[in-house]
Amino acid sequence: MKYLSEYRSPEIVDALLKQINTTVKGNWNIMEVCGGQTHSLVKNGLLNMLPHNIQMIHGPGCPVCVTPVNLIDKAVYLAMNHNVILCSFGDMIRVPGSEMSLLEAKAKGADIRILYSPLEAVKIAKENPQREVVFFAVGFETTAPANALSVIHAHREGVKNYSILTSHVLVPPAMEAIMNDEECNVHGFLGAGHVCTIMGMNEYYPIVEKHKVPIVITGFEPVDLLEGILMVVKQLEQKEYKLENQYTRVVEHDGNKNAINVIDTIFEVTNREWRGIGEIPFSGYQVKNDYSTYDANKKFNINIAEVHEDPTCLSGDVMKGKIKPYQCPNFVSKCTPVKPLGAPMVSSEGACAAYYHYNMATAVNE
């Protein structure tokens, strides 16, 4: 496939690995922020091809993993209301809530539809005017424009029975929180390529400056990832800290202005609870008051008890990079994708599931 196969070329991968090997001198911990990058690293077997003095730390960039259990409970609550059609991205539906997942709610009779686009949900709302259609709008800055656009479409077309249950989270505040953690051992970042495709690079300069940490905006194919790692290592070895862009074929410096406008029309920044991590200030989007009739949180009277995470789940430590998934005592023994304790074991982007699916042999060898 053009524009894909060249980024999976064994020859280029080989050449980049050689360059990394000759460049690296110190011991470096590099965090790939985005779950898609974690997924690609393990799927392609890249982790055990890197030199031992480069440790990849798998960051909190998996939207499914950081969506608080309370919100899943809210989605389940809404879905169990017979007049509601709850629409969701696929990998959200197996995430355990405090009582059940959306998949279990579906088995109990809830009308839950897996969609690839929130605009489909608006269409379903138009086709079912007597019912309420709620889209479970999770994700980082990447899915925010499409979710916002669905509200704009619904508003423009006078679709009154559509709303979104939003739990958008933002990458830069999470990176800031990781760097502010006293136990932080991250020396450099691979920035999330698709998030920056939307938002551009500007938000990252202050993090680089304040924490003197290299950030390289990076893509998702093996060649992208290795080039990003090489760029971070070069900076670290030369004691530099800069914001660089490896993913130039997709990311423009100022991002996608249309998409940002769409986001700004519908959403405003708010504090947000991250599953396994806790509340991070200014780290999420909520629907603006002007559009509150499309905000499922306000439209419905959702009456559920506050719940707490399973205390034995160490997913927060995994997402902050303090431990590797296989260092958790529950990994495989009590926590598997069939019966997950925490969300990182559910989503294919979650670090625990990624290790479970692709990398158990490496885990044993490491």
């Binding site: 982790l47 055990n48 939207p63 990998d91 539809r113 999770v138 980082f140 698709h194 990398n359 158990m360």
Partner: protein, 345 residues
């Protein structure tokens, strides 16, 4: 498919509860439709069951078909119901001889749709050279089914030279995949609600019995195991083999063909082709000595041009499937926890 056979006059445009009552409407549907279309000496007796003789070792398999949508590029639930069971028997080294055919129809199913499915069943059974000798039709109320469910049970005679048994698998055996992965599953996915992309991908549903019998004629006992990677895909079948035979399996990504358009759709949908369903493929675990020769013969088959040796059986990493990625990394290929779910981004 022979669509020239016109729909018989049945007085109703849709299936209703009466068609499953056992009364006049049932016999009208059966006499004018099913019995006439599939007529053969055993079926024509219209007895409660069929009475027949078989020779030698016999294989039997059953499967229920609930696919939605019922029509898709490359086939429909009817072809699938014949080919699926014929192929399960082929994986036992048997040539399917007789099939039972049972329908659960939902009230309201269009008669034209039902007829088209019946014609596909007829065409598929003729290609696979199998007779439908007994069956059943039930109708459930609207909302209690999904248009049509089909169950087929097949009986076949095992090839005299076949010795398909998991205990025959040994370290060093080669693993052969008969064609490109994931076409059927992606065809079905592209039809499901919310997916609007145009493709020319079509299901690979087809009978595998003729090619399997040819291979068994030539290579007999050196074919140690045959499996068709339907639900759960190649990854699931390989894991089952590794676990049941207590061996390790090594495969190489570069030897596994996924056609460009299918690969592109998988990328877009966030699905791993290793776990996507196929309906016209088989995996053969064969003795290393004959692997190349078998592959050459398989490549002569019209659907086998992209067949390949994708890996081998190992005495190491028992019960695990390891894959060497295209770029030289190594990963574990695990069983899937549940349905493969598309990723958010």
């Amino acid at each position: 498919m022979n669509l020239s056979c016109p729909i018989p006059k049945l007085d109703f445009d849709t299936i209703n509860l009466g068609h499953g009552s056992g009364g006049t409407l049932t016999s009208q549907l059966l006499d004018k439709g099913v019995f006439k279309l599939f007529e053969n000496d055993l079926l024509n007796k219209k007895h409660d069951g069929a009475i027949f003789n078989l020779n030698g070792k016999v294989a039997m398999s059953t499967d229920s078909y609930v696919v939605s949508p019922i029509f898709f590029e490359g086939g429909n639930i009817g072809d699938l119901a014949v080919n699926g069971t014929v192929n399960d028997l082929a994986m036992c080294g048997a040539k399917a001889k007789y099939l039972s055919l049972a329908f659960v129809l939902e009230e309201g199913l269009q008669m034209t749709e039902f007829w088209e499915i019946l014609l596909s069943i007829k065409a598929a059974s003729e290609i696979a050279d199998v007779l439908i000798i007994t069956g059943d039709t039930k109708v459930v109320e609207r909302g209690k089914g999904d248009k049509i469910f089909i169950n087929t049970t097949g009986i076949g005679e095992v090839h005299a030279k076949a010795n398909i048994d998991i205990i025959n698998i040994k370290a060093g055996d080669k693993i052969i995949l008969s064609g490109p992965l994931a076409a059927h599953g992606i065809t079905i996915m592209s039809h499901r609600q919310g997916l609007q992309f145009e493709t020319t991908i079509k299901s690979d549903t087809r009978a595998l019995n003729n090619i399997i019998l040819q291979l068994l004629d030539e290579f007999g006992e050196d074919v140690h195991l045959l499996r068709d990677p339907t639900r759960g895909g190649l990854a699931t079948v390989l894991n089952e083999i590794a676990q049941d035979a207590k061996v390790g399996i090594n495969i190489a990504q570069k030897n596994i063909t996924v056609e460009d358009e299918v690969a592109g759709a998988c990328e877009m949908l966030g699905l791993d082709p290793l776990y996507v369903a196929n309906e016209g493929l088989f995996v053969a675990v064969v003795d290393a000595n004959i692997a190349d020769k078998l592959l050459q013969q398989l490549k002569q088959w019209e659907h086998g041009t992209m067949a390949n040796i994708i890996g081998e059986v190992s005495a190491e990493h028992v019960k695990q499937v390891l894959m060497k990625s295209n770029i030289g990394g190594r990963r574990v290929v695990n069983m899937l926890a549940g349905e493969q779910l598309p990723r958010i981004c």
